[in-house]
Amino acid sequence: MSKAVRRELDNGLTAIVRSQKGVPIGSFWVWYRVGGRNEVPGITGISHWAEHMLFKGTHEMQAGEVFRQVSAAGGSLNGFTWIDFTTYFETMPIDQIDLSLKIESDRMVNARFDEDEVASERTVIISERRGNENQPTFFLSEEVSAAAFRAHPYGQGVIGHMSDLEGITRQELYSHYQTYYRPNNAVAVFVGDLDEDEAFARIERAFGAVERGPEIPAVRTREPEPQGERRVTVRRPAPNRVLQMAFLATNAAHADAPALMIADAILSGAKSIGLSGAGGTLGRSSRLYRSLVSTGLASSAGSSVSLTIDPSLFTIGASLQPDSDPDQIESIVSEELARLATEPVPEDEFNRALRQMRAQIAYAMETVTSQAYWLGSMAIAAPQRDSDEFLRELQAVTPADVQAVAARYLTPNRRTVGWLIPIDEASNGAASE
């Protein structure tokens, strides 16, 4: 696999290219440094809504044309919004890739945000939120995030509060778009069957004339150090109790990030670094699986760590079996974390985690789409890091590093403990266990 090369255009657009020969396809992405992180109360969810509007027409293309033209060319496409970014991609037969560059350079500045389309999309976005609310664990995640961040906008999530979705105006959406959709706030990534210089030349042709915008408003707030454990409870009709335990950890640029990913692998298996979990499901010999699932106490258990611009959460979750004791589950999780912080991980177990990580990287690198996803997400979360080097850093983590990060971050004082408790709505909210 050739190395990814990064260049910056005169207008501030960061371009990353990896030439990958073999299959005649290419994946092209544009990432914007805007998401839930850049929102304030009153306009929560606006980045995600703006993303929807970028499929609703530009001065060049009618609403729906992006989906039609890319699909007709045999491509796949999507857009999605997260706390740190909003991104759009097309994976295409390589002889059609210019269509992707044309679409993305056009909608970087020419989206229309028609009043009628904004009105129609409001109900679609509300429907998306309502669909999430049909899952009782959605409320739990929302409450845990809100409690874990008392200052930083990460606590607001991405989808937005219902009141804000009902109130956001066309002008607010358009202003948000004009502020953040600028080449100097974007990263273009191409991976596929083009020579490196040819790919850069095409990106330059498509985006070179887009004007640089004003400086992007900085996110000032840093989450204060937690001063003790926080607890939240969600009571909803649900099939079983669910635990979420979230620890304020660190950011992707921090030297501790690779060790936290290995700690996560030891607790519940190495995760995919590709798009949509490309790769295998590993970790049935992991510590949380053995202590919670193999014992029959939980039907599933896992952990996750995010690579983000600002410090975010290291989360542990468990879906309980009906007759399991919640206190026992919490104790077991706490004991596992204390063990990680106080005892070095035995060599064979540690090597299993490293091998899983190596395999997950190989699985994700099979597709140009996942490669581009990895390059883009790292360029957003930790622009100063070399994403290829990060993969090597993962392999260089030691048991002492894992012990150190567990002791530093996975402590009771840094945690928010959330419980979803099933209720029987028919009996006025009485617990139904």
């Binding site: 129609s120 998306e128 309502r130 669909g131 099939p239 010999s285 395999a359 099979e366």
Partner: protein, 434 residues
């Protein structure tokens, strides 16, 4: 109407790979894709397809899935923890997926470990131990899955639609994940018996992708599965009767804010001559771009739903055409009517010239992307053999699709999808329907 595939078989697309297959002495067919030039890969995938899905459940709903779930939980005298530790140590996975017709067991590993992982996987398939303790754990997980399905508006709507279409006594009427009663009744003896009768070598398809030649793949599979013997039992999966009128079923679930709609009709199986026409018609109706005409009407124009789409499931024996949407309770009736109207509109007018051209471009252009990974190559090869599509299918595919006409798409929709006979299931908050 029909599409005579053989008429176009002379127009080969030489850029597409042939499927090479070799039959072992025990009847197993081993297939690979002949990618030329060979593509080096760090990732190996072996997929084993056994024609023993949930249709064989009989009066023990869920036994096929329960048995599938037990394969990885102890075999060859080795405990689950021991096996999981070795697989995790290799960064490899073995996954089991039980459908209505077949069980797919797939391993994925780094190419250098494929021999060892296949040895483990073959033990899981041929010699599972069914330890009592692991049976209890898998039962607990299936019960948990059942509770979660019952709490999901989407899953429940889909279940009601299917159970209505497939009447009692049909192998697809039952919950393939079982019920509280059936899962309690499935004991070790039942699992051992299902495995002994239904995990047989004949009719098994094994596909291999990633860093190995065809001959190497055949040798590898022969070494690990060559001793497997026996004949898989057949079950008659007859088509469901076509409903005589539109039927609406609704249920409510507490604590929900949105309603999910599932509607469906019996359609055709994979070998039906109308398959390609109906498949393209379905693409136009509810898949192309942002969920086809349904997406354009229900989401884009009316803003009623975040998602709506249609689907054509065509198995070896039977098939279903389905449509789905998630909407606010107040919009349920409007969404159902809009979906029916869009289907009727297609039946009356067929695809526009542009829709027809776009949908052809879409599926032909996507072909190289569908062969990008070892996993997708193994999946495509398995389907080619399973549905008996011919070893040159990928080379003929362009001509099969290019030979279709707009009239054929319209006629297929008219023949197979009657919007006045749909079975409609709605699950949401109280008062889901006006």
């Amino acid at each position: 109407m029909s599409n005579d595939v053989s008429n176009h078989s002379s127009q080969f697309d030489e850029t597409m790979p042939l499927v090479i297959d070799t039959q072992l002495s025990n009847g197993i067919r081993v297939a690979t894709l002949a990618i030329n030039p060979p593509r080096p890969s760090d990732v190996a995938v072996v997929r084993v397809r056994i024609p023993n899905g949930s249709a064989l459940d009989g009066n023990l709903a869920g036994v096929a899935r329960f048995t599938g779930g037990m394969l990885t939980r102890g075999s060859d005298g080795r405990a689950f923890d021991d096996l999981a530790e070795e697989l995790d140590g290799l960064g490899a996975s073995v996954s089991v997926s039980v459908g209505g017709e077949a069980t797919d067991i797939a391993m994925m590993s780094l190419a250098e470990d494929s021999d060892r992982v296949l040895e483990i996987m073959s033990g899981m398939i041929l010699r599972p131990d069914f330890p009592e303790r692991e049976i209890d754990i898998v039962r607990g997980q299936m019960l948990s899955g059942l509770r979660q399905s019952r709490n999901s508006t989407r899953a429940e709507a889909d279940r009601i639609m299917r159970q209505t279409l497939y009447p009692e006594g049909h192998p697809y009427h039952q919950r393939s994940g079982g019920t509280e009663e059936s899962l309690a009744a499935i004991d070790r003896e039942a699992l051992v018996k299902f495995h002994a009768t239904s995990y047989q070598a004949s009719d098994v398809i094994v596909t291999v992708a990633g860093g190995m030649s065809h001959d190497e793949s055949v040798a590898l599979i022969d070494r690990h599965l060559g001793q497997w013997r026996g004949k898989t039992p057949r079950v008659d999966i007859h088509p469901a009767d076509y409903p005589s009128a539109l039927a609406l079923h609704s249920e409510s679930l507490p604590g929900k804010t949105q309603s999910d709609i599932a509607m469906g009709l019996p359609a055709l199986n994979r070998s039906h001559p109308d398959y390609y026409s109906l498949s393209l018609a379905n693409l136009v109706i509810g898949r192309f771009g942002l969920m086809g005409r349904l997406g354009e009407s229900v989401r884009e124009r009316q803003g009623m739903a975040y998602y709506t789409f249609s689907n054509l499931e065509a198995g070896l024996s039977v098939g279903l055409w389905t449509a789905h949407a998630g909407v606010a309770p107040v919009n349920v009736d409007g969404a159902v009517e809009s979906i029916r109207k869009e289907v009727q509109g297609f039946i009356d007018g067929g695809p526009t010239e542009r829709e027809f051209r776009d949908s052809i471009g879409s599926i032909l252009g996507a072909l190289p992307i569908s062969l990008e990974t070892s996993g997708s190559m193994a999946g495509v090869a398995a389907d080619v053999l399973y549905y008996d599509l011919g070893n040159d299918y990928l080379r003929r595919y362009r001509s099969i699709i290019s030979a279709l006409t707009p009239d054929e798409l319209q006629a297929a929709a008219r023949e197979h999808i009657d919007p006045d006979k749909l079975v409609v299931a709605v699950v949401g908050p109280d008062g889901s329907r006006n």
